[in-house]
């Protein structure tokens, strides 16, 4: 009874205030609880200053619980107006379940490239249901002091890359490359999908693989394994049992010269490392080849179909798609790069260097993320194992390609 009265009181206050101020309050569901301060102090005030009629509340939950919490809130009808979208199948399921609105007609969607939008589209690309927010780029971060000390130029081709590794190894002061195979995912994410796009020509190969026109046994898909097989000797002693935090520490302590990286490392490395860092993109085979980078879409934001504030929410989403948001977001979180086609001026030198590759190279996303990891065996998980096996030299690149192809063909119709 008491609760009912309280509810009524609250509701009437809400009614009165909203009637009075004509305000809409938008609630954002997110798993990025690390970014709470950034939203409250920078992003939301900037938006509210421009749109006085709309209030925004950022309400994150713990990353590991996000999907489950969000699903139950959506079922119960108590989810916020705006939904932060995980890439690919998780969000696609929400759209197919009628929880996300089709945003293809949102004018600001024109600010994004097709690759940027691909993580939040139906398989045929006819509907886009989340505004892309940020991506992470793969490449190599290196210790500038170490390179200067040993007189090594930043490598651009594969031959130069391995020459540099040889030189570091010969000198012996530094471990040439900090990566381990214990946790497996680094080998696939920072190994195979980092250097791979240069072989399968980015989007061209990725889409052909999805259509079934290329196979994982084709040379462009097998060759990256052959290259990974050459990495083994340059990784530190006992790399087989080296974990991901081990590798991060090895590099930031200045004991390793090169770190196969994802750009999300930038802010952590900036605080940990006391030497100057630089970055180079995945080396190409021959000088002058077109370069391809993995510019992997990671975060988007969509509109809850059940939201009562559709208009206000669309205004907010249009603003998220604007260069202004991109510049606030990109600078506050160096390493999470805004996806809009308009270039953003970043202040962090390392982030700036990495994002600059977008102008020189073709962007693509990780080959296994869209559609291809829906079945059993799971191609992404298999790729982890295959990349580790390649680095250890446990199996030949051809055998690995064959194994992955057989696994994919066992459930994916275009490959049968």
């Amino acid at each position: 009874m008491k609760r009912k009265v309280l509810c009524l009181a609250l509701m009437s206050t809400a009614l009165v205030t909203s009637a009075y101020a004509q305000e809409a309050t938008l609630t954002i569901e997110s798993w990025r609880n690390d970014d709470l301060a950034l939203w409250q102090d920078k992003i939301i005030p900037a938006f509210e200053a421009e749109h006085p009629g709309i209030k925004v509340v950022f309400s994150p939950s713990a990353p590991a619980e996000y999907n489950a919490v969000l699903n139950s809130k959506l079922e119960a009808g108590s989810a916020g107006d705006l939904i932060t979208c995980r890439p690919f199948d998780a969000s696609l399921a929400l759209y197919e379940g009628g929880h996300l609105t089709d945003l293809s007609d949102l004018e600001a969607m024109g600010n994004f490239s097709d690759v940027a939008k691909s993580a939040w589209q139906t398989d045929d690309g006819s509907a886009s249901f989340c505004v892309p927010m940020a991506s992470v780029i793969h490449g190599f971060i290196y210790n500038k002091d170490a390179f200067n000390e040993l007189g090594i130029e930043v490598p651009t081709t594969e031959a130069e890359f391995f020459a540099a590794l040889d030189k570091i190894k010969e000198d012996g002061t530094y471990i040439p490359m900090a990566m381990g195979t214990n946790d497996q995912w680094e080998a696939a994410t920072m190994g195979y999908n980092n250097i791979g796009p240069n072989y399968w020509k980015g989007e061209e190969g990725r889409l052909a693989l999805i259509k079934g026109e290329q196979k994982l046994t084709d040379p462009q898909w097998v060759a990256p394994y052959a290259t990974l097989a050459k990495w083994g000797p340059y990784l530190g002693d006992g790399y087989e049992a080296q974990t991901y935090p081990d590798s991060q520490n090895l590099f930031t302590l200045g004991r390793a010269a090169i770190y196969p990286a994802g750009s999300w490392e930038i802010s952590g490395f900036n605080t940990q490392a006391d030497f100057e860092m630089g970055a180079f993109k995945p080396p190409v085979q021959n000088a002058g080849d077109t370069c391809y980078i993995s510019d992997h879409t990671d975060i988007g934001i969509g509109l809850n179909a059940a939201s009562e504030n559709q208009e206000a929410a669309r205004t907010f989403l249009a603003w998220v798609a604007s260069p202004e948001f991109a510049s606030i977001f990109g600078n506050a979180l160096p390493g999470f790069f805004p996806l809009s086609s308009t270039p953003v001026e970043l202040e962090d030198p390392l982030a700036k260097e990495i994002v600059g590759w977008r102008d020189e190279c073709e962007s693509t996303i990780r080959s296994t993320y869209q559609i291809l990891s829906r079945g059993t065996p799971n191609l992404e998980n298999e790729t982890w194992g295959a990349s580790v096996a390649a680095i250890k030299g446990a199996e030949s690149p051809e055998a690995l390609g064959q194994k992955l192809q057989d696994g994919l063909a066992s459930w994916y119709a275009p490959h049968q």
Binding site: F88, D89, G180, T181, N182, D183, Q184, W185, G236, D237, G238, Y239, E240, A241, Q242, T243, D246, L250, T368, Y369, S373, R374, T376, P377, N378, E380, N381, W384, G385, V388, A389, K392, A394, G407, S410
Partner: protein, 304 residues
């Protein structure tokens, strides 16, 4: 003839335990077995009979993983039987020696790892064995055996044995305590009678004590069997759900977890996961039955 009164109080006293046990153990067990008979097609659950088990045992992709996990599980169990239990018995025999000093101290020290969390044990051993920061390589170096060191947890051929030995380290206290208790319960008179007949020292252990503690060893074996085939935590903590390197440490528990709850981009499949859980249940049931009917009933018992 007098009709027997129904003894209601038995039912009343049993009810709380039966209800709680049914709700948290028996119902979930049978519901899991039931879940294994279904599959999901287009977001609706349909009955498929034993199809999931057929997939698990005969589909090349699934069966390869299943037999690999089962084989690893048997190796894990074998290491425990061959290392943990004999060491446990030996420690108990030494501890029960009347002239050993500081017995209580050793007993506690050996038992303490058992009460530690898997997470602590997993991380501590991972650090000890780390090729980068671990003390294992430097200790071996100090005695000039650095060449014997290998990144054990990262090598397919050693990882499972290493983890099994870590688990042995953690749990060796349990057989030790059980055997210790059994040894203490052997009456002095029997040993003295043996002594008069000239059976002393080691032969007293082999000829008198060991036959008397055999039933305890049987119980320990079956506890080890059940514990090992339900194992999951240590592998998950130290090697992750993919049980690397290359599934060489994958046991039924991690295989079931990965399938049931999904991993990374792989979505969870509760039905196949239940099928694996069902297979685990069957394996443990068969193992326990073999022990109960095949071994325990034939074991000779002595009245003390």
């Amino acid at each position: 003839m007098q009709t027997r009164r129904i003894r209601w109080h038995i039912a009343v006293f049993l009810a709380p335990a039966v209800l709680v046990y049914t709700a948290v153990m028996i119902f979930p067990l049978f519901n899991t077995l039931r879940l294994a008979l279904f599959t999901e097609v287009d977001q609706s659950r349909i009955y498929v009979g034993l199809q999931n088990f057929r997939t698990l045992f005969f589909d090349p992709i699934w069966s390869e993983q299943f037999w690999n996990a089962l084989g690893n599980n048997f190796w894990f169990f074998l290491v425990h039987m061959l290392v943990q239990n004999p060491i446990g018995v030996a420690l108990a025999a030494i501890l029960s020696h009347p002239r050993l000093r500081f017995a209580a101290l050793y007993r506690s020290a050996i038992f303490i790892p058992t009460i530690l969390s898997f997470v602590i044990v997993g991380f501590a051993w991972k650090l000890i064995l780390s090729p980068l920061w671990g003390i294992a390589p430097s200790m071996l170096d100090a005695i000039g055996l650095k060449s014997l060191f290998a990144p054990w947890l990262g090598k397919e051929e050693y990882a499972l044995t290493t983890l099994a030995l870590v688990s042995v380290w953690q749990f060796v206290g349990i057989p030790m305590m059980l055997i210790y208790a059994a040894l203490l319960s052997i009456p002095e008179e029997i040993l003295e009678a043996g002594e008069i007949d000239g059976i002393t020292g080691a032969s007293a252990f082999w000829k008198i004590k060991l036959p008397l503690i055999l039933p305890s060893i049987g119980i320990i074996s079956i506890l080890t069997f059940v514990g090992n085939f339900n194992a999951f935590d240590l592998i998950y903590v130290s090697q992750g759900a993919l049980a690397g390197p290359d599934f060489s440490t994958d046991i039924l528990g991690t295989f079931m977890y990965r399938t049931f709850f999904g991993f990374q981009l792989q979505l969870g499949d509760p039905h196949m996961g239940s099928a694996i859980a069902g297979a685990m249940f069957a394996i443990i049931l068969v193992g326990v039955c073999i022990y109960l009917f095949g071994i325990q009933t034939r074991m000779r018992r002595y009245q003390l």
